[in-house]
Structures are given as structure tokens and as C-alpha cells.
């Protein structure tokens, strides 16, 4: 049934395209993320994606499907000197599915899009509605865009009906029985996410494009990892991770794309500042150089730097053991710890287009591959400090006709 969804969507799109002259694009992409551990098995995520889009006049239809096949091991209890346990339960031996469909209407100066996606895995359900609009003005030298996304998510959790205090909250042991009415020890917690993203792009010169924008995200609901526990205080209590119900996240970004025609190349730079109400502050910078070699070969190199502070309630495992929690929240999430990431990568693409005068059915064929290497720098005693690097290997192809 799961495989039929994209197949039916693809056939519908192709049938729609067949009603007249339409542009159709099909693309597939496979990403393999590997994060090895010095003490255990680490994590591997295999992430295939496929997408079909058809445009007929001002109307466009899109459909896509993707998977996250996750396997590995992680620390179930955040405590000093802990090593990962082999996990056979839900968290790291799971498959996440996501199917999406959307439609767009585009004129020479205005574009409207709307979409829906549904994601599901053993312990998580997610409905996402998204709409976006953009308009060009000043002879299409500027584009103002606004996107809004609303998530209606449900997270499986242990009911913890007998807990007398926050320290009695027990983590979820397994995802078996999640979202089934008969599971009395389990419950589904709600999480709603609203995301607003305005942006402004400026075609500054025939060789230079600039963009600025921001993101506001409001989260309301259960945001903890239900499987994770944290050791608190010298008496060794190990309650389930507990995060605040609400979070507001703000980001500002700027982007510069500069063409370098003598080298048939482009430099792409971007920077982002981030802050949220859990007191995580971050700065990220990206730089990429893309260049053609010959008529069909495109190659590029990339670097990225990211640095962030920790959440206000984050403590190292030793601090949690000695001093206890900071207020009524505690976490063993590396993403909420002070962290510095470096990324270096390279990509190569083969692009084939028929000559403009030919009557070929093929519009464009692209085959591409890339490799990125990610290096983490965390404080001693921070979560997952046994994992200091990751690699991302990806390959894909797209066909337009």
C-alpha cells in the first residue's frame, strides 16, 4: 500500500500532463547518513526520496514520497560515563514514511502553492499543511515570499498515570502498542508547530543575487524524547527527559549568489543567526563554489560552520548528578548542548541537455553525487560525546521532459 501511493500519484500527474503540452520532472535521491561511535554501533540513516512534478500552463501538481530507515544504538539514560546500549526497540530500528502532494498556480509575477504531507512511524504521526505565496515586482528584480506551515503531530509516550511527581515519570520502553486503543500504559501526546517564513530576494546585478529573510516557529506540545531518561541528583533518580511545553524559535538569514562567468562558476554564501526561548543562540555560515568543466560536468566544494550555546536547562551529566536539574526541566539531547559543527563536502553532477534546435522529448537529464563530512565539537561529558563525526553520502538523478 505504501509503495502504491507515489505510483498512483505519479500516474495521475503523468495523465494530467498527457492532456496537453506539459513539463514533467521526475527526481529520485538517496542519502546515507552514518555517525560512528567510539564506544558502540553509532547510527545509520538511509533516506530515499522520490518526487514527480507536472506543470501545465499556470497550474502545477507535485507528489513525493520518502523514507527514513534508521538503525543503530544510543544512550537510553544520560548519566556520567555511560556507554550506548544496543537498542532493539523503537527509536533506532525504525522506518519513517512520509508522503506528500501539492498544487501550485503561477503567473508571470505571482505564485501560490499549497501542500499536504503525512508522516508516520511506529511512535510518531504527523500531518502537515503548507501554503506559500510569492510575488515579483520592480520588473521582477525583487521577489517577496511568505510561507506558512502547520504541523499536527502526535507522539507516543508512556502514560505515567501513577506518577506522583515529575521525578517519577518513566521513559517509554518500546513502541509496541503505540497508537492502538488497547494500550492502556501508552498515550499519544500532541505537538502543534506553526512556522512562518518571509523572505525578500533582489536581483542586484546581472551576476549577483541577494536574499534576506527570517523564520518564526512556535511549538506547543510534547517535545521530549520519550525513550530517554536523565540521572538526577546524588540519590540517582532517573526520570524521563522533560522539556518545556512551549518553544519559540527565531532565525534571520542572508544569502549571496555571485556568478563568475570567466570561470563558468558561481560562489554561494549564506549566514544565519538563531535564537529561541529555551536560550539556545546559534550562528551558522555556509560557503559553496560550483563550477562547470566541459559542457556537461559540474563540480563543487562546500564548507559550513555552526556554533550554538546550550539551552538554559541543559547541564552535563556530571552536573545533573551533583547539582540536580536546573528547575523542572532536564535533557540528554546533544542538540540542546553547547556545540560546534564543521562540515566540508564536495559534489559532482553530470547534466545533459539536447541542443536547442533538436526536437528531442528529453528536456534535461541530471545525475549527481555528493559527500559531506561533519565534525562535532562538544564539551566533555556532553550527550553523545563518543560520536565526534558523521558522513553523508548522497546520489540522485532527475529527468525533465
Amino acid at each position: 500500500v505504501q509503495l502504491r501511493i507515489p505510483a498512483v500519484a505519479a500516474l495521475t500527474l503523468l495523465a494530467a500532463a498527457g492532456q496537453g503540452r506539459a513539463d514533467v520532472e521526475a527526481a529520485s535521491h538517496l542519502t546515507v547518513f552514518t555517525e560512528p561511535s567510539a564506544q558502540g554501533r553509532g547510527i545509520q540513516v538511509i533516506h530515499p526520496q522520490t518526487e514527480v512534478a507536472a506543470t501545465h500552463g499556470p497550474v502545477g501538481l507535485q507528489a513525493g514520497y520518502e523514507l527514513d530507515i534508521v538503525s543503530g544504538a544510543t544512550t537510553r539514560v544520560y548519566r556520567p560515563g555511560d556507554v550506548p546500549d544496543a537498542v532493539s526497540g523503537a527509536t533506532f530500528s525504525d522506518v519513517r514514511h512520509a508522503a506528500r502532494a501539492g498544487a501550485s498556480f503561477e503567473t508571470t509575477t505571482v505564485a501560490l502553492t499549497a501542500g499536504y504531507s503525512y508522516g508516520w512511524e511506529n511512535d510518531y504521526r504527523s500531518h502537515t499543511l503548507s501554503v506559500s505565496a510569492r510575488g515579483d515586482f520592480l520588473e521582477r528584480n525583487f521577489t517577496l515570499g511568505l510561507a506558512y506551515t502547520r504541523n499536527f503531530d502526535r507522539v507516543c509516550d508512556r502514560a505515567n498515570d501513577l506518577a506522583q511527581s515529575l521525578l517519577d515519570l518513566q521513559p517509554l520502553g518500546t513502541s509496541e502498542g503505540c497508537f492502538q486503543a488497547s494500550g492502556t500504559e501508552l498515550t499519544a501526546r500532541r505537538l502543534s508547530i506553526d512556522t512562518f517564513e518571509p523572505s525578500l530576494s533582489w536581483t542586484a546585478t546581472p551576476l549577483l543575487m541577494l536574499s534576506v529573510g527570517s523564520t518564526l516557529q512556535l511549538l506547543d506540545g510534547f517535545q521530549s524524547n520519550p525513550y530517554r531518561a536523565v540521572r538526577l541528583g546524588p540519590e540517582g533518580r532517573e526520570p524521563q527527559e522533560r522539556l518545556p511545553q512551549h518553544r519559540q524559535r527565531f532565525a534571520l538569514f542572508g544569502r549571496v549568489h555571485q556568478a563568475v562567468p570567466p570561470l563558468r562558476a558561481a560562489a554561494r554564501l549564506s549566514a544565519r543567526l538563531y535564537r529561541d526561548t529555551w536560550d539556545v543562540a546559534a550562528a551558522s555560515a555556509d560557503a559553496e563554489w560550483l563550477q562547470y568543466f566541459g559542457s556537461s560536468l559540474l563540480a563543487g566544494v562546500r564548507g559550513r560552520y555552526h556554533r550554538q550555546s546550550g539551552a538554559i536547562f541543559f547541564r552535563t551529566a556530571e552536573d545533573y548528578r551533583v547539582r540536580g536539574p536546573a528547575g523542572q526541566y532536564w535533557t540528554g539531547d546533544r542538540e540542546l548542548a553547547p556545540l560546534t559543527n564543521y562540515l566540508v563536502g564536495a559534489r559532482v553532477a553530470f547534466v545533459k541537455r539536447p541542443p536547442p534546435e533538436s526536437r528531442s522529448w528529453l528536456g534535461e537529464l541530471e545525475i549527481h553525487a555528493r559527500a559531506d563530512f561533519l565534525f562535532y565539537r562538544t564539551e566533555p561529558g556532553a550527550p553523545n560525546s563518543d560520536r565526534t563525526r558523521a558522513q553523508v553520502i548522497a546520489a540522485g538523478a532527475s529527468l525533465r521532459f
Partner: protein, 78 residues
């Protein structure tokens, strides 16, 4: 804290929108001058799946989120 943060964000949104609506008229780039801007290496919306996978990886490895912009890049190349 929350109200102040929302206000700050609204100011940024108004400034972003206001920048485009201001009476200042920059030198305009004409359609025939956009051959380089139309190339895939300059376009923001090229390699959608690859960018989505990239963001998927980074968002789950970092505490920060967003700042990726909306769809479309304002090339106006057609």
C-alpha cells in the same frame, strides 16, 4: 520575554517587507541580462530533493532551525 521576541520578529518582518515597498528604485536588471542568473548554479531552487535532505540532516543534528528561505528565488528568467 516571549512578547518581546515576537515584537522583535514583527519588526524584522516589517523591515523586510518595507524594503521592497520603499520608493527607492535601484538599477534594474533587464530580462536579456539574466543569462547567468538563470543557470542552475545560481538558482536557489535547484536540486530541491538534495537541499531537503541536507536540511533534514542538519536540523536533527543542531539546535537551530530555519533561515532557509521560501520557495522561489526571484530570478525572473522566463
Amino acid at each position: 520575554m516571549k512578547i518581546r521576541s515576537v515584537r522583535a520578529w514583527l519588526v524584522v518582518v516589517c523591515l523586510t517587507a518595507g524594503a521592497g515597498c520603499a520608493r527607492w528604485r535601484p538599477p534594474l536588471v533587464r530580462p536579456h541580462q539574466r543569462v547567468h542568473l538563470a543557470d542552475r548554479i545560481m538558482r536557489v531552487d535547484s536540486d530541491r530533493l538534495g537541499r531537503a535532505a541536507d536540511q533534514h540532516v542538519l536540523t536533527t543534528r543542531e539546535g537551530a532551525f530555519g533561515g532557509n528561505g521560501t520557495a522561489g528565488g526571484g530570478c525572473g528568467c522566463n
